[in-house]
């Protein structure tokens, strides 16, 4: 079954999304953007950015804001108002509905919207690599039956089975994940490029009911841009006496700069508009350099923001809901990124608005989620859990060695080979831990078991394969297998992912708090392990080499090893003191070993000095593996 895509068919911009791997994702357009302008040139069949770029040249054939005409009568207020601002010709079609006339042809708003949907379909197909036949399309909550019907027809013309028409605020609420369990009242505040909508939703048992909706169909981000442009032009005129509004080229540069400034002032409190050589006066170039503060911007657009309050009041009154009964306020539309807008919303509703989802993408994402629900994608895939904390085992020196890292999506499994810590060790204990701290004892014990019957062998030789396997229900299976004998032991731990949120938070906080201490402890253990390995290896070499070392040298080395051993055992020992003794011993061993090779080389060059070298190498590499992971006994 093919995927159902979600389409936010907007007045100024449209966006596409799809469910993938259990979550909704925006599909980038062929141009590499997350949204595209809802602009169509039907004669040359141009849609989106390309249509927008030729708009000035071909204004009477370029259609924008066609959504305003969907399912409208030509004689209706909305169609007449659109006619006033549209450079293309709007006329009455059969049965009096509004149509567009251009190039001697008539186009219904459905046909034009279909072009936008066709682009959405094509871009989705390119992204997914398969054909797309089904879609969920969003419409404003106030759309009546004929408007919804028109939208559905547009989908059919574009070759899409419209599985459902979803209200934009409902889609946004879905994208914000508000469908899970709670029963509450949700306000959706949507300030987009060209329209403002506010909706009150009642959410109960996963069903959304639109209680009321209000707005201003001619208020949006473009109006904000105009205010900034006006300000820049008037300031420049005051300073230089030149009216940039008369210069189309300069005006275009100011328009770009104004939009950039508006965006920058959402994160910075001050920005600089720099447009050198903007114009000339008496043959001398004039430069536009101007600082705009966030406070100034807020002052300029304050009346626009205040204009959104009245519809909010009306929506609340229509829904017969008190502000105190509102459970959640969510923000949709690019303009809601502006801190002042967020502040005004917060002050009016008395509640911090939720802004966790990208406001330009929320509606399309919600439509995709609705598509996922219809195709059955969502129900099962969303249940995939992640491990809240790291899972691992205790290794030499009481260190926690992680196997499955925190936030791994389950089901997941991982194996790692460990070895023994001492010679002829007959068994290993697998101590299973959960937590973020480097020392075993600071983490939570989930269980432990013993794998015995390991054949006698020097330390580091046996290969014990430890496997962690966690299934989708959070059940953890840990097994340990001796690769030599094939002997295996295992344990099953239920609810390895099942921790309360508080528990996870506490453990994470502790890990942060003790990070420095833990690091020191771990360093000491590592150093001790390193020293331990040197002691064992050197003693072995001394024993194996027989009388090759003279007794004085042997004694000297043995003494330094004993001192090192004592140092490790001291309870008050530190990384530095172990390191000092370790260095002395290492140097001594190296010195004598060198002398030994030299002597051997001089005595008899044929006496395989290479074999001896090989041994020394081996000892070195052993040190490394021992440091990393050996199961404690």
């Amino acid at each position: 079954m093919s995927k159902i895509i979600g389409i936010d068919l907007g007045t100024t911009n449209s966006a596409i999304a799809v469910m993938e791997g259990g979550s909704a994702k925006i599909i980038p357009t062929a141009e590499g953007r997350n949204t595209f302008p809802s602009i169509v040139e039907p004669i040359k069949n141009l849609v989106g950015d390309v249509a927008k770029r030729q708009m000035v040249l071909n204004s009477e054939n370029t259609i924008f804001s066609v959504k305003r005409l969907m399912g409208q009568k030509f004689s209706g207020k909305q169609a007449q108002k659109t006619k006033e601002i549209a450079p293309f010709e709007i006329a009455a079609g059969k049965d009096g509905s509004a149509i567009i006339k251009l190039g001697g042809k008539e186009y219904t708003p459905q046909e034009i919207s279909a072009k936008i949907l066709q682009k959405a379909k094509a871009d989705a197909e390119a992204y997914l690599g398969t054909t797309v036949t089904d879609a969920v399309i969003t419409v404003p909550a106030y759309f009546d039956d004929s408007q919804r019907q028109a939208t559905k027809q547009a989908g059919e013309i574009a070759g899409l089975n419209v599985q459902r028409i979803v209200n934009e605020p409902t889609a946004a609420a879905l994208a914000y994940g508000l469908d899970k369990g709670k029963n509450e009242t949700v306000v959706v505040y949507d300030l987009g490029g060209g329209t403002f909508d506010v909706s009150i939703l009642e959410l109960g048992d996963g069903v959304f009911e639109v209680k009321s909706t209000n707005g201003d169909t001619f208020l949006g981000g473009d109006d904000f841009d105009h205010k900034i442009i006006e300000y820049i032009v008037s300031e420049f005129k005051k300073e230089n006496g030149v009216d940039l509004a008369q210069d189309k080229q300069a005006l275009q540069r100011i328009k770009d700069a104004a939009e950039k400034a508006k965006i920058e002032l959402s994160s910075a409190t001050e920005t600089e508009v720099n447009q050198p050589f903007i114009t000339q006066r008496d043959g001398n170039p004039l430069h536009l350099t101007m600082k705009i503060t966030r406070a100034k911007l807020e002052e300029l657009v304050d009346d626009l923001i205040q204009k959104t309050i009245e519809p909010c009041k009306k929506a609340l009154a229509d829904a017969k809901i008190e502000k105190s009964a509102i459970g959640e306020v969510i923000l949709v539309g690019g303009m809601t990124r502006m801190p002042k807008v967020q502040q005004v919303v917060k002050e009016f509703f008395g509640k911090e608005p939720n802004k966790s989802v990208n406001p330009d993408e929320a509606v399309a994402l919600g439509a995709a989620i609705q598509g996922g629900v219809i195709s059955g994608d969502v129900k099962d895939v969303l249940l995939l859990d992640v491990t809240p904390l790291t899972l691992g085992i205790e290794t030499m020196g009481a260190v926690m060695t992680p196997l499955i890292e925190r936030n791994t999506t389950v089901p997941s499994s991982k194996s790692q080979v460990f070895s023994t810590a001492s010679d002829n060790q007959p068994q290993v204990e697998i101590h299973i831990l959960q937590g973020e701290r480097p020392m075993a004892s600071d983490n939570k014990t989930l269980g432990s078991f013993i794998l015995d019957g390991i054949p006698a062998a020097p330390r580091g030789i046996p290969q014990i394969e430890v496997t962690f396997d966690i299934d989708a229900n959070g059940i953890l299976n840990v097994s340990a297998k001796d690769k030599a004998t094939g002997k295996e032991q295992k344990i099953t731990i239920k609810n390895a992912t099942n921790l309360s949120d508080e528990e996870v938070e506490r453990m994470k906080q502790e890990a942060e708090k003790y990070a420095e201490d833990d690091k020191k402890k771990k360093e000491l253990v590592d150093k001790k392990n390193e020293a331990d390995t040197l002691i064992i290896q050197t003693r072995k070499v001394l024993k194996d080499s027989g009388d090759k070392f003279d007794s004085a040298a042997k004694e000297e080395i043995e003494k330094s090893l004993n001192e090192l051993e004592e140092e490790i055992k001291k309870p008050e020992t530190t990384t530095e003191s172990v390191d000092a003794k370790l260095k002395v011993a290492t140097e001594l061993v190296q010195k004598h070993a060198e002398a030994l090779y030299k002597a051997a080389g001089e005595k008899d060059k044929a006496e395989e000095p290479k074999a001896e070298e090989g041994k020394a190498e081996e000892a070195k590499t052993d040190t490394k593996t021992a440091e990393e992971g050996e199961v404690v006994n």
Binding site: K52, R53, P276, F277, V381
Partner: protein
């Protein structure tokens, strides 16, 4: 005799339906994964090619300013500096969109103003456009002719050919 308990027909149907549902879900997830892998491979190539896009877009604004300064002060040295600058960016995959005198193409150009001149031809480039590894990084901002080749400017502004 031990009585055999047979699951009822509806129970079997239920179980079969569940099995089928699980298989579909499994296939779906596997397909998602494989698609994701394919896309990831594609994206790795894209990522290297277009990683610089945002930075280049910002630098282009500075080059625009330099060029504007140059058109005013006409300094031979500055000319070399600008050329050097562009040459460096060319090695990173940047390419100028030829626009002056060309036929207007909305794929690579953005029409800012319609002026008198040959129809649909670019009369003047206001800001140069650039491609980055064959993709449009920034369309050229241009003035396009309306088909009226008039002696006087005011005539041209009023009449619109169609």
């Amino acid at each position: 005799m031990v009585k055999k308990t047979q699951p009822s027909k509806t129970e079997i149907e239920k179980i079969l339906a569940r099995a089928e549902e699980h298989e579909t879900n499994y296939k779906r997830v596997l397909a998602d994964y494989q698609n994701q892998e394919r896309r990831f491979k594609e994206m790795q190539g894209q990522f290297v090619k277009y990683a610089n896009a945002t930075l280049l877009e910002k630098i282009l604004l500075n080059i625009d300013s330099l060029e504007m300064a140059q058109s005013h002060i006409k300094d031979a040295g500055l000319d070399i500096v600008i050329k050097q600058f562009i040459e460096t960016l060319k090695t990173e995959g940047l390419q100028l969109i030829e626009s002056d005198g060309k036929l207007f193409d909305p794929k690579t150009m953005d029409c800012i103003e319609v002026v008198s001149g040959e129809k649909d031809k670019v009369i003047e480039t206001l800001t140069k456009g650039y491609l980055l590894n064959e993709k449009v990084l920034r369309p050229a901002k241009v003035k396009v002719g309306n088909g009226v080749i008039a002696r006087s400017e005011s005539d041209a502004a009023i009449s619109q050919s169609n």
